[in-house]
């Protein structure tokens, strides 16, 4: 199973993930991009900085 490049959590992906599909890490919430298939490779997707703090 592929792992999250940010936090090493195992990421469940569909049987046939599409290239450039975005999946979200269940542990750290990062958005990950499918950068290759069979086997699946994931890279951190560019993050739009959210306004959250005060």
């Amino acid at each position: 199973m592929p792992t999250c490049p940010e936090c090493s959590a195992q990421i469940g992906v569909d049987n046939e993930p599409q290239l450039n599909e975005i999946v979200q890490c269940p542990e750290c919430g990062s958005e990950l991009e499918v950068v290759k298939t069979s086997p699946v490779g994931l890279a951190t997707a560019p993050d739009v900085e959210e306004d959250w703090g005060e």
Partner: protein, 341 residues
């Protein structure tokens, strides 16, 4: 069906035990006690139980014997009445502070009175499944830890246990008003207690001792009352030893809590709810734990949150009972909490 009873049923922990036990498929709630409300309906004190509970309160002196008895009386009362109370149940699960600290001397230091049943201290197993699941399987005397202690222990323990924490840790706890029970004094009225950030224990809170005992750390604790009814959050600050990064922390927590039904690791990079907070935990048995890392300063902030009446009390007690009787751990504890809330 096992027959169970709650001593101190008119209090806040007692009420939560009643709610959970009524929904538990393996037990029958046979009695809940109150001195003040004896023979009054349980739902006249706990109005959420209208149409759900037809019981009236039993006077403590009218109790019989039961398979399991939960003690939700004020602290110091369990030890004072220990000889009587412990006879009431084959299994007794105590929620007071009285049998949490195995060391008589530590008890005296924190509670300012000598222990009245020191010979029983060794009989109790800690009612914290994450640390004591194995012993709980055949424990007949269970002592559930304090609400803030539970949150802090669950946040600190894995990192402490693998030896990554320097021993000095500060714990900053925040708690809602139900944490001090149903009692009422001039400081507890809505006008005085609403909108507070009341540092009621700037140093030396009693749960320090419980956290130290469970984690082996040296803890200095501060506690602040906030404008909430339910909920506890702890921020634990310490320094790490060796090399620590986010991945390592996640691996550790995953290893310790990956199979836990009621601990969630919450440390997100996005979204509104990135770190543990009690807002979404009311009524649920989850303890959320999370972390933040300051690599440059070699510091860690570990965060825990729970509902003080559930995972911080009644829920932990029922989870311990489930383990004791070999039932699925989630039984009776499935409510996940609400969003928004």
């Amino acid at each position: 069906m096992l027959r169970v009873a709650v001593v101190g049923g008119s209090g806040y922990i007692g009420g939560e035990l009643i709610r959970i036990l009524l929904g538990h498929p393996e037990v029958e709630l046979c009695a809940a006690t109150s001195n003040r409300f004896a023979n009054r309906r349980v739902d006249s004190v706990h109005p959420n139980l209208r149409n759900v509970c037809d019981l009236t309160f039993t006077h403590p002196e009218d109790l019989g014997t039961y398979d399991v008895v939960f003690l939700a009386v004020p602290h110091l009362e369990s030890m004072k009445q220990a000889s009587g109370l412990l006879k009431l149940g084959d299994v007794v699960i105590d929620l007071t502070a009285d049998f949490r600290l195995p060391d008589e001397e530590v008890f005296r230091r924190y509670y300012k009175v000598p222990h009245e049943a020191p010979e029983l201290l060794g009989e109790f197993v800690g009612g914290l499944p994450e640390l004591h699941r194995k012993e709980l399987r055949d424990a007949d005397r269970i002592s559930v830890p304090g609400c803030m202690a539970t949150a802090a222990i669950l946040a600190l323990w894995p990192v402490a246990d693998v030896g990554l924490l320097e021993p000095d840790v500060s714990v900053d706890a925040r708690t809602g008003s139900s944490g001090s029970g149903a009692s009422s004094g001039p400081a507890d009225t809505h006008s005085e207690r609403a909108n507070v950030l009341r540092v009621f224990a700037p140093i030396g809170h009693r749960h320090e001792a419980e956290i130290e005992q469970a984690t082996g750390l040296r803890v200095t604790m501060t506690a602040t009352g906030v404008d909430a009814v339910r909920g506890v959050q702890v921020l634990c600050r310490g320094r790490f030893v060796g090399e620590v990064d986010e991945k390592l922390l996640r691996t550790i927590y995953r290893e310790y809590y990956g199979d836990e039904p009621f601990v969630r690791v919450v440390a997100q990079r996005r979204g509104v709810y990135r770190l543990p907070e009690p807002k979404i935990l009311s009524g649920s048995n989850f303890c959320d734990v999370g972390f933040a890392l300051d690599t440059a300063e070699r510091r860690l902030v570990l965060i825990g949150a729970l509902d003080n009446l559930v995972k911080g009390g009644a829920g932990n007690a029922v989870q311990s009972m489930n383990i004791r009787f070999g039932w699925p751990e989630r039984l009776g504890l499935e409510f996940p909490g609400l969003h928004p809330n």
